[in-house]
């Protein structure tokens, strides 16, 4: 039985030594090199850092970044990846949550890393990549890892205005990768085209399919997503067979009418998740690529990326509502009503997840952890945790799970999860904003901010651009004399929706 992702890495360094694990442009890292780098960098880290500590990783979009994450794992530690292109204020919040003593960066990120007021030590990975591997030291560090040791901390939006760090074990990640590999029939002939930012939950597939199955991941430069001819050329040049992308990413080429001029010739499977796929745009893909298998995935970061899947059967039309399907192996789903009783067939309830894929919780946040990961109310016989997703669902006549939106004000925008309260919290920090309300127009994928006060809309945009990731910047900002109110004094959000264009 395997204990950690290092077991996968060691096996691939033997049976696929010379094969490329990660590629970006002309740079490729073979499994042997990957293992060697992680041993060198890992030896250096293990000599300094006690096992079990979090290490913040800030490294660019290139094939060495996964190697640096895994170097932290070699040292018996937990990696907490952050993206240097995020605004400084956001990065500072993440650093505060991680409360780490060390940050591992690539040379290109060093300047940014140094500007964040980080009080620990910043280590440049390239500078220590020649450290001779100390097998005894690495073995000692590894002896601390069990299946339940934390592998990574990944940050998501939190309604309090502070990102939450979801902390996940080796076991959870390995269960997920095992389950999704089975559905997608991943093997060493597969070449994945990686879309997700490497610090983001969706990237775990691109990072770990190579380790699990000897597949290769091509990390696609972000700029190519705006230029579909370049995007498809990259997919074809690398003979990419599979994509696991956010819905927003999959929709892009269809929106830009990319298939009229070129096609990804080698593609066999496309898996999407993160939000509800437009059936119209899925149909564009199906018409252009009739032999490709399309898989709709659903699940939160807290249940390790995805917990249910649905393989699309036949061609969809614009009225098709895709199920989110059935639980993956290693996952179980239940639907709970408000009164904590089970929803019956056809009834809507909150989607709750159980099984070994539940995250270990929110890092350094026992209160939020206890709120979201709780004892199964249907089980008073022994300890069994469930994660309450906040999503609503029902089981259809075919026994498949259907998605019915959120219980709260969390939205999915451009594949990212956003708490609208967090947008409002940020807007209220702008001088001259008195009251505000943020809403999402799903049909047009527009994030709105309505506010009262003297601030100019431009000032608000500039504030958001400086403090928040791009996907959290409202695209439509409207100044009003007053916000419409309900009789109880709360903001009348339905009345505000009349302003949607």
């Amino acid at each position: 039985m395997q204990t950690s992702v290092l077991d996968w890495l060691d096996a691939r360094a033997c049976d696929h030594a010379e094969k490329s694990a990660y590629i970006c442009g002309d740079v490729a890292v073979s499994f042997k090199e990957l293992s060697d780098i992680t041993k060198s960098v890992g030896t250096y880290l293990a000599g300094k850092i006690a096992p079990g500590q979090p290490v913040i990783c800030m490294s660019g979009r290139h094939p060495y970044t996964p190697a640096y994450f895994l170097s932290v794992v070699r040292a018996g530690c937990t990696y907490a990846p952050i993206d240097s292109t995020m605004p400084v204020a956001r990065l500072k919040q993440m650093i505060e949550v991680a409360d780490a003593q060390y940050m591992l960066v690539d040379r290109g990120s060093y300047e940014k890393a140094s500007s964040l007021g980080f009080e620990g030590e910043i280590i440049i990975a390239e500078d220590i990549a020649d450290t001779p591997a100390d097998e005894a030291l690495l073995a000692a560090a590894r002896a601390n890892i069990t299946e339940l040791s934390p592998l990574y901390i990944i940050f998501t939006s939190g309604s309090t205005g502070k990102p939450k760090g979801v902390i996940t074990s080796h076991h959870s990640l390995m269960c997920y990768i095992d389950a999704v590999s089975e559905v997608l029939k991943v093997d060493d002939t597969d070449v994945f085209g990686g879309q997700a930012p490497l610090d983001y939950i969706a990237a775990v597939r691109d990072i770990y399919f190579p380790l699990k199955a000897g597949a290769t991941t091509v990390i696609i430069p972000k700029s190519e997503f705006a230029i579909p001819t370049e995007l498809f050329a990259t997919l074809n040049r690398n003979k990419v067979t599979a994509l696991c992308w956010s819905v927003a990413g999959v929709e892009l080429p269809a929106k830009l009418n990319a298939f009229s001029e070129a096609k990804p010739e080698y593609l066999k499977k496309v898996c999407f998740s993160g939000s509800v796929m437009s059936p119209k745009l899925l149909r564009v893909w199906q018409d252009a690529m009739p032999d490709v298998m399309f898989v709709n995935q659903y699940g939160p970061t807290e249940a390790t990326a995805s917990c249910t899947y649905h393989i699309v059967q036949g061609k969809v039309d614009e009225n098709t509502v895709l199920p989110i399907g059935r639980p993956y192996k290693h996952y179980a789903i239940m639907l709970l009503k408000e009164d904590n009783t089970p929803a019956l067939a056809g009834e809507t309830g909150e989607i709750c997840v159980k099984g070994p894929c539940l995250a270990l919780g929110y890092y350094r946040n026992a209160e939020k952890t206890a709120e979201s990961f709780m004892q199964n109310p249907l089980n008073d016989k022994y300890r069994e945790l469930i994660y309450k997703t906040g999503d609503l669902g029902s089981i259809n006549a075919d026994g498949e799970l259907m998605f019915h939106g959120r219980k709260d004000r969390q939205i999915k925008h451009m594949g990212h999860r956003i708490e609208l309260e967090e947008i409002e919290g940020a807007a209220k920090c702008v001088d001259g904003v008195r009251t505000c309300c943020s809403l999402y127009q799903k049909e047009k994928e527009l994030l709105y901010l309505f506010y009262t006060g003297d601030a100019a809309p431009k000032e608000i945009t500039l504030y958001f651009r400086a403090k928040m990731p791009a996907f959290m910047v409202p695209r439509k900002i409207m100044q009003l004399d007053e916000l419409p109110a309900l009789p109880n004094g709360k903001i009348d959000m339905n009345a505000l929706k009349a302003y949607f264009k």
């Binding site: 972000k222 700029s223 997503f225 705006a226 230029i227 579909p228 001819t229 927003a248 892009l252 929106k255 830009l256 009418n257 990319a258 009229s260 001029e261 070129a262 451009m414 809309p457 431009k458 945009t461 500039l462 651009r465 791009a470 996907f471 695209r475």
Partner: protein
């Protein structure tokens, strides 16, 4: 040109479109900006920007974007 600038400024008020000449190559506009922009330009000028038009050279500056729009309007 004025209308193009207006659309750009509404999309990204934080960018100096009069002087920036590396909007795509410099990573100023991301793929979601481009999709939103293409949609607005198509609607506003009743043109159809094709995938082959989506090259950095056509989107690196407000001037280049305007030139693309004018070219497509002539077709």
């Amino acid at each position: 040109m004025e209308k193009v600038l207006e659309i750009l400024e509404e999309l990204r008020p934080d960018v100096d479109f009069e002087n920036e000449d590396s909007l795509v190559d410099g990573g100023v506009l991301d793929s979601f900006d481009i999709v939103a922009l293409v949609g607005e330009l198509n609607d506003e000028f009743d043109i159809e920007i094709k995938p082959s038009d989506l090259v950095p050279a056509n989107f690196n500056s407000a001037k280049a974007i305007n030139a693309l729009v004018e070219k497509l309007m002539d077709e």
